[in-house]
């Protein structure tokens, strides 16, 4: 399973676009890149998943370069309620689908 590296924390202000980059140099061919969000006292929540290029949904965008050794989660116009820990996970979605969590990035959005 590929190891991921992401910043421990980031600060932002309301209304700004936030980009969180994750490095996964050892990503394998069968690996997908998935991002989860976790608020205090809650379980993680799936945000977005991709394999290559760009994926967009109603919450975020995920940019994956051609070499797939990194990925960037983009949150448009963040609000205070986006303050949370964001996890980048990389893995083969094979038999178990078990998730391997790293330390995550604590995003703090200020007014």
């Amino acid at each position: 399973l590929a190891k991921t590296t992401q910043p421990i924390s980031m600060d932002s202000y309301e209304g700004q676009e936030v980009n969180i980059t994750c490095s996964h140099n050892n990503i394998a061919t069968n690996d997908y890149i998935t991002w989860y969000q976790q608020f205090p006292s809650q379980g993680p929540r799936f945000i977005i998943q991709g394999y290559k290029t760009k994926v967009t949904n109603e919450v975020a965008s995920l940019f994956i370069p051609a070499d797939r050794k990194s990925s960037t989660l983009s949150l448009p116009r963040v609000s205070l309620s986006d303050t949370a820990v964001y996890y980048c996970l990389v893995g083969d979605v094979g038999a178990t689908n078990k998730l391997i969590f790293g330390t995550g990035t604590l995003l703090a959005v200020q007014p």
Partner: protein
């Protein structure tokens, strides 16, 4: 649809006692997972059920932990006897068959062993 539920939300027990945690997955989700976060550490996978069968229990820390999913619906995780290092938050998650990595997590059970 109702989400994943876990019971209890908090449990405080003494070392050596037994505790049973329960997880009710989303209806129709064949896959059920247990994870836990101990203080200051990352969330770690414990085991995975497909219906009532254990697909992967490689993350279970030792034989004091017993997970069951009789009938393929809800699951229980029993810790017997509990030790201090078992304190943490235990999460349950579920997915439909064939869904890639989009796991739905419950709110967790915070276990404190004194």
């Amino acid at each position: 649809e109702a989400g994943v539920t876990q019971f209890p939300s908090h449990s405080v027990i003494e070392k050596g006692q037994t505790v049973t945690l329960r997880c009710d997955p989303i209806s129709g989700h064949d896959n059920l997972y247990w994870y836990r976060r101990v203080m200051g550490k990352e969330i770690k996978f414990l085991l995975h059920f497909v219906k009532e069968s254990k697909q992967d229990e490689s993350g279970m820390p030792n034989n004091r932990f017993l997970a069951e999913r009789t009938g393929g619906t809800y699951s229980t995780l029993k810790v017997q006897p509990a030790e201090l290092e078992d304190s943490g938050v235990y999460f349950c998650a579920s997915t439909r068959a064939g869904v890639l990595n989009e796991q739905f997590f419950g709110p967790g059970t915070r276990l404190t062993v004194l």
